[in-house]
C-alpha cells in the first residue's frame, strides 16, 4: 500500500507539475505582451539619488579620464540617423536571410519561417569617449568606448506540423572597448591601407531570448553560462593582440614602392650640332626620371667633340613602369654662363620589354611636344636600356614593413648593415637662420641629408646605410642638426642641436623608432629610425 501510494504520489506529482507549469505559463507568461516597452526617459536632473547611484558605474570615460574626448556630437548625429540606419540595415539583413531560410525550410519540411518583427529599436549605439594615440610608426590608433544598450525586437515565427513556434530576441546590450588601428598610412585617399580592429577588454553582452514568450535567459545560471560562452568565443577571436583585419587599399600600389630597376647605358651621340662660336661643343648627358624627386644623373663632359662616346652606365629605381619616362637631355658644357641644351628625347618605360636589353637610337629633339621646330636635325644618340622588374618573392619581403629586411649579399657574416632613416625634425630654431640638414657621424664616417630652406619642422625621409663587420654593441652614433646659411658670409654654419644614440638597443631589438630631444636646443626634437640588418 505504502509503496503504491508513493508511486502514485510521484506519478501525480509529475502530472501535477506539468499541468501546473502549463497553467502557470498561461497564467503568468502567455498573456504578457511580447512587444518591447517604450522607454521612458526622464531628464537626469529629475532623477533621485538611488538611480543616480545606479548610474555611477556607467559614467562615460570622458568624464572620468582627461585623456578621453567627448564625442556627444557624434551621438547626436547617430541619434538622428538611427531610424534611417535601422530601416536600411533591417532590410538588408532580411534580404540576406530570406534565401537561406527558403533553402532550409524545404530541407527540414518546415511550413514557413518568417520575421514577424525586425527592428533595431529606437536607441542608437552611443560613444562614451574617444582616445587617439600617436606613435612614431606609420599608424593611427583610436580607442572609442562603445555602448549599445538598445531595444531591438526580432521575432521569428516558425510553423511546422501545425504548430507555431516563436523565438524573440530583445533588449540587446553590447558594451565594448575596441581599438581601431589604421596602418600603414599611405599617400593616397583614404590615406590608410588596412584597418585592424581588436577588443581591449572582454565585451559585456546581455539580451533576452524568448521562446514561446518565456525568457530563457531568466533561467538561473543559464544567462551566466551563455554570457561566458559568448565572451570566450569573442575573446578567442578578437581580444587584443588578436584582431580583425579589413584591407582597404592594396599597399604596394598605394604607397608606390619600387617595383624594378632600369639599367641605362649611354653609349654615344652622333653628329651633334655645333653650339659654341669657337671650337666644338662640349656635350654631356643629363638623365632624369619623371615623377621622381631624386636629382638627375650626369655623364662626364666630352671636350670639343660632336660625336662623343660615353659608354657610361646608370641605374634608376622604378616605381611606376606604366607611366614613368626617362628624360635624356644633351647639354653643352660651358665654363661661364648657362649650359645650353643641344637636344633631348625620352624613353617610355612601357615600351621596354622586361629583362631584355634594347638598343635605342634616338633623334634629338628640341622638346617632346609635337612642334614644327623639331624638323631640324640635331643629331642622334645611342642608348642601351634594360628594365628589370623585381621578382615576386623579392616584392613580398618589402611588403612587410614591420619586419626588418635582410641585409644584401656580400655582408660579412657576423656583421650587418646599419640602416638609418632620418624622418623629421620638430621645433628647430637657429639664432640666425634655420635651413636645417642632418649630419650623421658613425665611426668617423659622415653622411648628410639635403638641407631644407627656412623650415622649423623639416621632413627629410632620407635613408642611409653603414656596413659593419661586427655588431656595434658598444658604439654610438651622433646625429647633429646643422643649419646652412643662405649665402656665404658670417654665421655660415650653425648647429641646431645634437643627440648621441647608443646602438646597443638597435642591435638587440633589430629596429628602433624614436623621437629624440636634441641637446643644445630649446625644444628641438628629431625622429630617427634605426634598423640592424643581418644576413
Amino acid at each position: 500500500m505504502g509503496f503504491v501510494s508513493t508511486v502514485l504520489s510521484f506519478f501525480g506529482f509529475g502530472i501535477g507539475l506539468s499541468v501546473g507549469i502549463l497553467v502557470g505559463y498561461f497564467l503568468f507568461i502567455y498573456f504578457q505582451p511580447s512587444d518591447v516597452k517604450d522607454l521612458k526617459i526622464r531628464p537626469l536632473v529629475e532623477e533621485d539619488t538611488q538611480s543616480l547611484d545606479r548610474m555611477l558605474p556607467e559614467i562615460p570615460l570622458w568624464v572620468k579620464n582627461p585623456d578621453y574626448d567627448r564625442i556627444d556630437w557624434l551621438n547626436k548625429f547617430l541619434e538622428v540617423m538611427w531610424p534611417y540606419l535601422d530601416k536600411a540595415i533591417c532590410r538588408t539583413a532580411k534580404q540576406i536571410a530570406d534565401p537561406i531560410i527558403a533553402e532550409n525550410t524545404a530541407k527540414y519540411k518546415i511550413d514557413s519561417v518568417e520575421f514577424e518583427s525586425f527592428t533595431l529599436g529606437s536607441l542608437p549605439p552611443t560613444f562614451q569617449g574617444m582616445k587617439v594615440y600617436i606613435t612614431e610608426e606609420k599608424e593611427l590608433i583610436m580607442e572609442p568606448s562603445l555602448k549599445w544598450a538598445g531595444n531591438p525586437n526580432v521575432i521569428v515565427v516558425a510553423k511546422a506540423y501545425g504548430l507555431r513556434l516563436t523565438v524573440q530576441v530583445l533588449d540587446l546590450q553590447i558594451f565594448a572597448a575596441p581599438r581601431i588601428t589604421l596602418k600603414p598610412l599611405v599617400p593616397s585617399f583614404p590615406c590608410f591601407a588596412k584597418i585592424y580592429v581588436s577588443l581591449m577588454e572582454k565585451p559585456h553582452v546581455d539580451f533576452g531570448l524568448k521562446l514561446l514568450g518565456a525568457d530563457l535567459m531568466a533561467v538561473p545560471g543559464l544567462y551566466r553560462f551563455v554570457q561566458e560562452t559568448i565572451k570566450k568565443q569573442v575573446a578567442n577571436m578578437y581580444l587584443w593582440p588578436k584582431n580583425l583585419e579589413v584591407p582597404v587599399l592594396d599597399v604596394s600600389k598605394a604607397s608606390k614602392k619600387p617595383v624594378g630597376i632600369l639599367h641605362v647605358k649611354v653609349v654615344r651621340a652622333n653628329k651633334l650640332r655645333k653650339k659654341d662660336l669657337l671650337g666644338k661643343s662640349d656635350p654631356y648627358v643629363k638623365l632624369r626620371l619623371s615623377d621622381d624627386k631624386l636629382p638627375s644623373k650626369k655623364t662626364s663632359v666630352k671636350r670639343s667633340n660632336l660625336n662623343p662616346e660615353w659608354n657610361e652606365e646608370f641605374n634608376f629605381v622604378i616605381k611606376d613602369p606604366e607611366n614613368q619616362l626617362l628624360e635624356l637631355n644633351v647639354y653643352d658644357w660651358e665654363q661661364v654662363g648657362k649650359h645650353e641644351k643641344m637636344g633631348m628625347n625620352v624613353i617610355r618605360l612601357n615600351e621596354l620589354t622586361p629583362d631584355e636589353t634594347k638598343t635605342l637610337t634616338l633623334d634629338l629633339l628640341k622638346n617632346v611636344d609635337e612642334d614644327v621646330q623639331n624638323d631640324k636635325f640635331r643629331g642622334q644618340m645611342v642608348v642601351e636600356a634594360t628594365y628589370k622588374p623585381f621578382r615576386e618573392d623579392e616584392m613580398k619581403d618589402s611588403e612587410n614593413s614591420d619586419e626588418v629586411e635582410k641585409a644584401p649579399d656580400g655582408t660579412p657574416s657576423g656583421g650587418g648593415l646599419l640602416y638609418v632613416i632620418v624622418h623629421e625634425g620638430q621645433d628647430l630654431e637657429g639664432k640666425h637662420h634655420t635651413n636645417p640638414y642632418v649630419r650623421l657621424t658613425f665611426r668617423g664616417e659622415e653622411k648628410k641629408t639635403k638641407h631644407i630652406k627656412k623650415n622649423r619642422d623639416p621632413r627629410w625621409e632620407e635613408e642611409f646605410q653603414f656596413l659593419c663587420k661586427e655588431p656595434p654593441v658598444n658604439e654610438k652614433m651622433q646625429v647633429e642638426v646643422v643649419s646652412r646659411a643662405p649665402s656665404i658670409g658670417i654665421h655660415s654654419k650653425e648647429s641646431l642641436g645634437y643627440v648621441t644614440i647608443s646602438l646597443a638597443d638597435v642591435v638587440h631589438n633589430k629596429r628602433t623608432n624614436e623621437t629624440y630631444h636634441l641637446i643644445d636646443s630649446k625644444n628641438g626634437r628629431i625622429h630617427v629610425e634605426l634598423q640592424w640588418r643581418t644576413s
Binding site: G20, L22, F77, G150
Partner: protein
C-alpha cells in the same frame, strides 16, 4: 490519496516555478531597460546633469562649449596630414588641370601647376556642432581654421611671355556647414550640402606673388583677383549659397536642396538725405548700387551736384533665403576722372520684413558694414527706401528660376560676344586667366572640405565610399565655380582692395 496530493503538490510547484520564472523575467527585463535608459542619458550629458552626478567632485577637464572640441580629430589630422597632402595634391592636379584648360582664355597657350604643395601645417578643427534643424537632415557645423604654408605656383604661358603666379600663406577661418540628407538606403546619406556660414564672416587671406616679376606689371591684376575671390566666396559658397554633392549609389532628387528663389523684393530708392560732400569743387554726383547677391547688382541713375538727391527708381530683386540674406545699399559719388568714391553703405536684413506689407524705411549710412571697422561716428546722411516682400508660390518660383537661368546664360553669351567688358579690353586676357586661377583656389578650398569630410568618415567608421563621392563632387564644384568666374567679370567692379581681402566683398 497519494495521487491527489501528488497532483496538487505538483500543480502548486509548477505554478510556483512559472511564477518565479515570470518574476525573474520581469526583473531582468526592467534591469535591462533601466540600464538602456541610463546609457541613453549618459550619451548626452549637459553641464547641469554632470554637476548633479558628480556633486563636489566635478572634473575640471570637462567643458561644454557651443562647438564641441575634437582634440582627437586634430591629433589624427596632424598625423595624417603629410599623407593627405600628398594624396590631395594628386587629386587636385588631376581634376583641376583639365578644368583650367577648359576655361583657358584665348591668348594663353598653357595653364598648368608648376608647383602644388599643401604645406606641412594641418588644418585645425576648432569644434563641431550637430543639430537637426529639419526632419531627415543633419546639420553639422565645423569651425575650421587653417593657417597653412601652402604654396601654389601656376605657370601661365601667354603668346608674349610666361608668368608664373604664386599663391601662398593661405589662411582660412570659417565655419563650414555640412548638411546630410538622410535616406533609407545604405549608406543612409543621399546627398551632402556644403556651405560656409555667413555669420561669423568667412575670412580667407592669402598672398599673391608673381615669381620673378611683379604683379604690378599688369595694373589692376591683383585687385581683380581679390575681387573675384571674394565674389566667389560670397556668391557661391557663403550660406545660403551652397554646393550640393549627391552621393553615388542612391538616385535621389536633390532639387530641394538647391538654392531657389523664395520671394521677390520690390525696392524703391526714394531719396537720400544730407549726404556728405566728397568733392572739392561743387557737390557730389551720387548714385546707389544695390544687391542681394553680388552677382546681380543694379544701380540708379546719377543725380548731378546734389547732396539730397531724389531718384524714385524701382527695382525688383530675388531673395533665396529670407532668414539670412540682406539687401546691401552702396551710395557712390560718380567721378569722371578717378575711381568712383563710396559715400556710405547700409544693410537691410530681410527677416525684418513682413510679407506683402509695403514699408518705408530710413537707413543710416555707414562707412563700412563691418561693425568692427567703423571708426568714426560721423553722420553720413541717410537713405529712404520703400520695400515690399512678396513670397513666391510654387509656380512663380519655377518661373523665377527659369528667368534667372536665362539671365546668366545671356550674360555669358554677351561676354563671349565681347559686348561687355570691352572697357577692360587690355586687361581682358589677363583678367580671365586670373579668373580661372581663382576657380582653382576655390577648388582647393573644396578639397579641404572634402578632406575634412573624409577624415571624419574614417574616424567615425562610417562608410568609406563617401570619400570617392566627395572626390567626385570636388571636380563638380570646381567646374561650377570656374563657370561662375567667367560670368563674373562682366559685373565685377573694381574697388581698390588691399591684397589680403576679407571674404565679405566690401573690403576697401
Amino acid at each position: 490519496m497519494g495521487l491527489i496530493s501528488g497532483l496538487v503538490m505538483g500543480a502548486l510547484v509548477g505554478i510556483a516555478l512559472m511564477a518565479g520564472w515570470s518574476r525573474m523575467m520581469t526583473r531582468r527585463s526592467t534591469k535591462r531597460v533601466a540600464k538602456a535608459a541610463d546609457v541613453k542619458l549618459l550619451g548626452s550629458l549637459s553641464r547641469d546633469d554632470l554637476k548633479k552626478l558628480c556633486g563636489d567632485n566635478y572634473p575640471e577637464w570637462v567643458s561644454f562649449p557651443a562647438f564641441e572640441q575634437v582634440k582627437w580629430m586634430n591629433k589624427m589630422l596632424g598625423k595624417l596630414w603629410p599623407y593627405i597632402a600628398d594624396a590631395a595634391t594628386l587629386v587636385i592636379k588631376d581634376t583641376v588641370e583639365p578644368l583650367l584648360d577648359d576655361y583657358r582664355p584665348p591668348g594663353i597657350t598653357s595653364l598648368k601647376f608648376s608647383k602644388l604643395s599643401l604645406g606641412t601645417v594641418p588644418p585645425k578643427i576648432e569644434g563641431i556642432r550637430v543639430q537637426s534643424l529639419k526632419k531627415g537632415q543633419i546639420t553639422m557645423d565645423i569651425d575650421f581654421r587653417w593657417g597653412g604654408d601652402l604654396s601654389i605656383i601656376l605657370a601661365v604661358e601667354a603668346l608674349v611671355a610666361s608668368l608664373p603666379i604664386q599663391l601662398k600663406d593661405l589662411q582660412v577661418f570659417t565655419v563650414i556647414r555640412v548638411i546630410f540628407q538622410l535616406s533609407e538606403e545604405i549608406p543612409c546619406i543621399s546627398a551632402v550640402v556644403v556651405a560656409l556660414l555667413a555669420e561669423p564672416k568667412p575670412r580667407i587671406d592669402y598672398t599673391l606673388k608673381a615669381v620673378g616679376g611683379s604683379l604690378t606689371a599688369i595694373p589692376g591684376l591683383s585687385d581683380m583677383i581679390d575681387d573675384t575671390v571674394s565674389s566667389i566666396v560670397t556668391d557661391m559658397l557663403e550660406w545660403p549659397h551652397r554646393i550640393v554633392v549627391p552621393l553615388g549609389g542612391v538616385d535621389v532628387d536633390t532639387s530641394d536642396l538647391e538654392l531657389k528663389p523664395q520671394g521677390k523684393l520690390t525696392i524703391t530708392i526714394v531719396k537720400a538725405n544730407s549726404l556728405k560732400n566728397q568733392e572739392l569743387v561743387g557737390k557730389s554726383d551720387p548714385y546707389v548700387v544695390l544687391y542681394v547677391r553680388p552677382m546681380f547688382k543694379v544701380k540708379t541713375k546719377v543725380v548731378d551736384d546734389n547732396l539730397s538727391p531724389v531718384w524714385n527708381e524701382t527695382f525688383e530683386m530675388l531673395a533665396e533665403d529670407k532668414e539670412t540674406q540682406s539687401v546691401i545699399f552702396e551710395v557712390y559719388d560718380e567721378d569722371k576722372i578717378q575711381q568712383d568714391k563710396r559715400m556710405g553703405t547700409a544693410k537691410l536684413a530681410l527677416n525684418e520684413l513682413e510679407p506683402e506689407v509695403s514699408k518705408e524705411i530710413e537707413l543710416n549710412l555707414l562707412s563700412s558694414l563691418d561693425t568692427l571697422k567703423v571708426k568714426d561716428k560721423k553722420d553720413r546722411g541717410s537713405l529712404t527706401i520703400k520695400v515690399l516682400y512678396h513670397p513666391f508660390t510654387k509656380e512663380e518660383q519655377v518661373a523665377a528660376l527659369e528667368e534667372e537661368k536665362r539671365i546668366i546664360e545671356e550674360r555669358r553669351k554677351m561676354k563671349e560676344a565681347g559686348l561687355i567688358g570691352s572697357t577692360m579690353d587690355a586687361l581682358g586676357g589677363a583678367a580671365s586667366f586670373v579668373g580661372s586661377g581663382v576657380g582653382m583656389v576655390g577648388t582647393g578650398i573644396g578639397a579641404g572640405v572634402g578632406m575634412v569630410g573624409s577624415g571624419l568618415g574614417a574616424g567615425v567608421g562610417m562608410v568609406g565610399s563617401g570619400l570617392g563621392a566627395v572626390g567626385g563632387g570636388l571636380s563638380k564644384a570646381g567646374r561650377f565655380m570656374g563657370k561662375s568666374v567667367t560670368g563674373q567679370f562682366s559685373s565685377s567692379k573694381k574697388n581698390g582692395s588691399p591684397t589680403p581681402v576679407q571674404g565679405d566683398g566690401n573690403a576697401n
